[in-house]
């Protein structure tokens, strides 16, 4: 690949994660969980999020960075290690941050855009493969709807799955702790359940 990092071993060993989706899918909550987990492990980290206008059904991306010398709250172009997509078409927009090293973990869910044609799964995959071969598509929304009766839990489910696959360098216990510190009492159990469910 032309644009792969040429001196990968020279690069600093940060962990750069991006979560994309549509406003209202819970990206900011997932970022909070990651940060609380990182704090629990006493790691150096940073998060970036957007509020306001962009949340009204528009694309929303959050950034999470962890490492010794992390300064920028934003991940650089092509520098994401992991991109979690809560909606499939949003994976295309996230390609700005993707290169050969990037792992995609994608929720098999299409939320149509008013006034736009839907980009098909095949088209999306074709575009993604021009950047990275590490792509995994999971029916997270469907699984959460069927097994846990709640689609919105797909995000926590995917986070758990990413941890289990070794895509997130944080301990499972830390992420559970992150969930406990982030989610209010009322929704805590179902979130823990979704997280644990991803570990089977």
């Amino acid at each position: 690949m032309h644009f792969a990092r040429e001196k990968e071993k020279n690069m600093k060993k940060d962990f750069n994660l991006i979560i994309v989706g549509v406003g209202g899918q819970g990206q900011i909550t997932l970022l909070r969980i990651l940060q609380e987990a990182a704090l629990h492990e006493n790691r150096n980290f940073k998060g970036s999020e957007l509020h306001g206008l962009s949340q009204r059904g528009g694309s929303v991306e959050v950034h999470f960075r962890m490492g010794k010398n992390v300064f920028s709250p934003l991940v650089s172009q092509g520098d994401a290690d992991l991109i979690v997509c809560l909606e499939m078409q949003e994976a295309l927009r996230a390609l700005y941050y993707a290169s050969q090293k990037t792992q995609f973990l994608i929720n098999k869910l299409i939320i149509p855009i008013p006034g736009e044609e839907v980009t098909s799964e095949d088209q999306i995959l074709n575009s993604l493969k021009g950047f990275t071969q590490k792509i995994e598509i999971i029916e997270a929304s469907k699984i959460c709807k069927e097994k846990l009766q709640k689609e919105i839990l797909a995000g926590v489910y995917l986070l758990g799955l990413a941890q289990k696959r070794g895509f997130i360098p944080l301990k499972k216990e830390s992420l559970e702790e992150g969930i406990k510190r982030t989610i209010g009492e009322k929704y805590l159990n179902e979130n823990l359940e979704a997280f644990r469910f991803s570990q089977f």
Partner: protein
């Protein structure tokens, strides 16, 4: 459950959004009075204090929090509290500073009694701003307001505390300026002590010489202000808020960087990536600038790159300093080309003037200037990325939004080709979405009505102007009175969703804790004869009839479409 921001665990690390960290800094400073009008990227200040105001009253009996009707009112209210000896915090986004600037420029002449910190958040790339991106640092120059720029969540707290102290010492308001990516970054913040409340007896002590601006006294006041700024400049020279990183490094290129705020973080990131240790001057004070410190830094350099977002403020100021001191250093920053955007495609200039910076832009700029090879081919990657067809997903009204009923009624009966539709600030600015397409102009709050008046005076065209309830209280009332006073005939539709929805459901005078003010009473009192209140969801036919009737009128008319924001309704039920 007590809000984590009030935690008494000294030394504890808490994950906070930078804006929340600023709130904690104000609390650790013993803030008494907080006033604001919601606006993202500054909304979290109001939201946080709104949630904890009752808890704070238990700690400090003087404590008061309010959502003011607009930013000018918020600033004036905060000043009144500070005139009476209290510590006040006022927060808004860049547009809010524009609204408040009339008062600000005079407030600086008099100064205050207690202490006062003004927080302003700019929005490069317009992530939460329909109208414009803005570099509020130019207000620092115009109004002579000392201005600090924190970079990290921890600094948001530390700088706030420093600002309160500086304000108290010099009896002058201090501005903290931020940008979207600085405000909306989060990370660990170390908590310090919340001070024990010492009972204060706030009192406004009469002193017309200080608080009453009239010529010729007012020009003396200006002199006093400028002298104060000179003294604060000496503080700025000494302050460790302005610091040099890698200062002892003597590169053969004699190349250095001056930066501040979030741009400092991108600079450090870029240096890490390029494996360079160039001298960096990080400015915490962006006004008044520490001139001597800057000149000392420049003296050893052949080239300096100024890394900042939006229009070149530091670059201009530093260029003037260097020229006056006869330094030969080359000052680089925005370059000649006008470029930029959400994603900076051209990358021909050094740094873009339009849109926010990103870490890779700084990396690319440094590598270009030093002829150092990048470890990643950003340009090729961008080309590859640009080839992909990505459907845009702009924000749109919620599927269950009560405004759809208004849109449907208008589309059913109004002549969409003939009528001009005036937009305003709030969720309904999404009427610009291509599937709705009911917005022919959009500017600041209050402007839909006054522009409609101007168009209807100038032409025979009919205008339907939308204005939200919070916007109406903010700046719509003088515009409505003007339409009556100067006799035009727009149809104004006040979209009353009983909240300030877009910024996070803050209350407004129509629904406040105190006496709720009925919009139809104001409208009638303004002299509007044709007034109808309808629930557009329950009675769409009634709305349609009212629109039809009022479009024929020779005078201005008002329809109040009253239905609670469906999101808020749902929230209230759960």
């Amino acid at each position: 459950m007590e809000n984590k921001i009030l935690s008494k665990e000294i030394g504890k690390k808490l994950v906070l959004l930078a804006n929340e960290s600023l709130c904690r800094g104000a609390i650790e400073s013993g803030v008494d009075f907080v006033s604001t009008y919601p606006g993202t990227p500054a909304s979290e200040i109001g939201n946080t204090f709104w949630q904890i105001k009752e808890d704070l009253k238990k700690i400090n009996s003087n404590f008061h929090f309010e959502f003011s009707t607009n930013e000018k009112v918020a600033l004036e209210a905060g000043a009144g509290a500070a005139f009476s000896g209290l510590k006040s915090l006022v927060a808004f986004k860049h547009f809010g500073l524009n609204v408040a600037s009339d008062f600000l420029c005079t407030l600086m002449y008099s100064g205050i009694e207690g202490s006062m910190v003004i927080f302003v958040a700019d929005d490069p790339s317009c992530w939460s701003s329909a109208q414009s991106e803005q570099n509020s640092r130019f207000y620092s120059l115009m109004a002579h307001i000392p201005t600090l720029e924190p970079s990290t969540p921890q600094e948001f707290k530390d700088f706030t505390k420093f600002a309160f102290k500086l304000s108290e010492k010099f009896k002058i308001p201090i501005m903290l300026r931020s940008t979207t990516r600085a405000s909306h970054q989060s990370g660990p913040v170390i908590l310090e002590k919340i001070p024990d409340f010492k009972s204060k007896f706030p009192k406004f002590i009469k002193n017309p010489k200080k608080f009453s601006t009239m010529p010729p006294r007012v020009l003396e006041m200006k002199k006093e202000l400028l002298e104060k700024i000179e003294t604060i400049k000496r503080e700025s020279e000494k302050s460790n808020l302005n610091k040099i990183i890698y200062g002892k490094n003597k590169s053969k290129e004699k190349f250095g960087i001056v930066t501040s705020g979030v741009s400092f973080l991108y600079t450090m990131e870029a240096l890490e990536k390029l494996n360079l240790k160039l001298p960096v001057l990080k400015l915490g004070f962006v006004y008044p600038l520490p001139a001597r410190k800057i000149l000392n830094f420049l003296k050893k350099l052949k080239k300096v790159l100024i890394v900042e977002e939006l229009e070149p403020y530091l670059e201009r100021e530093i260029a003037i300093l260097a020229q006056k001191a006869n330094l030969k250093v080359e000052i680089l920053g925005k370059g000649e080309k006008i470029e930029g955007g959400r994603i900076w495609r051209e990358r021909k200039a050094i740094l873009p003037q339009i849109g926010e910076l990103k870490p890779e832009y700084v990396e690319i700029a440094i590598s270009k200037l030093l002829n150092k090879k990048l470890f990643f081919n950003y340009q090729l990657h961008l080309k590859q990325f640009e080839k992909i067809k990505i459907p845009p997903r702009p924000p749109i009204l919620c599927p269950a939004c009560q405004y759809w009923a208004v849109i449907n009624s208008i589309k059913k009966i109004a002549n969409l080709q003939e009528i001009i539709f005036g937009g305003e600030i709030g969720c309904y600015m999404l009427f610009s979405h291509k599937v709705i397409n009911l917005q022919d102009y959009l500017y600041c709050m209050g402007s839909s009505v006054s522009i409609a008046h101007g168009i209807s005076k100038a032409t025979e065209q009919k205008v339907i102007a939308f204005v939200g309830d919070s916007s109406f209280f903010h700046a719509g009332i003088p515009a409505l009175i003007n339409a009556v006073f100067n006799q035009s005939n727009p149809l104004i539709i006040i979209l009353e969703n009983q909240t300030t929805a877009m910024t996070g459901h803050q209350p407004h005078p129509g629904v406040g804790d105190g006496q709720a003010i009925k919009i139809e009473e104001i409208v009638r009192a303004c002299g509007i004869k044709n007034v109808k209140v309808v629930d557009q969801v329950e009675n769409p036919k009634e709305l349609e009839d009212a629109i039809k009737e009022f479009l024929e009128k020779k005078e201005p008319s008002v329809i109040i479409a009253r239905h609670i924001c469906t999101l808020l309704e749902k929230k209230k039920k759960t």
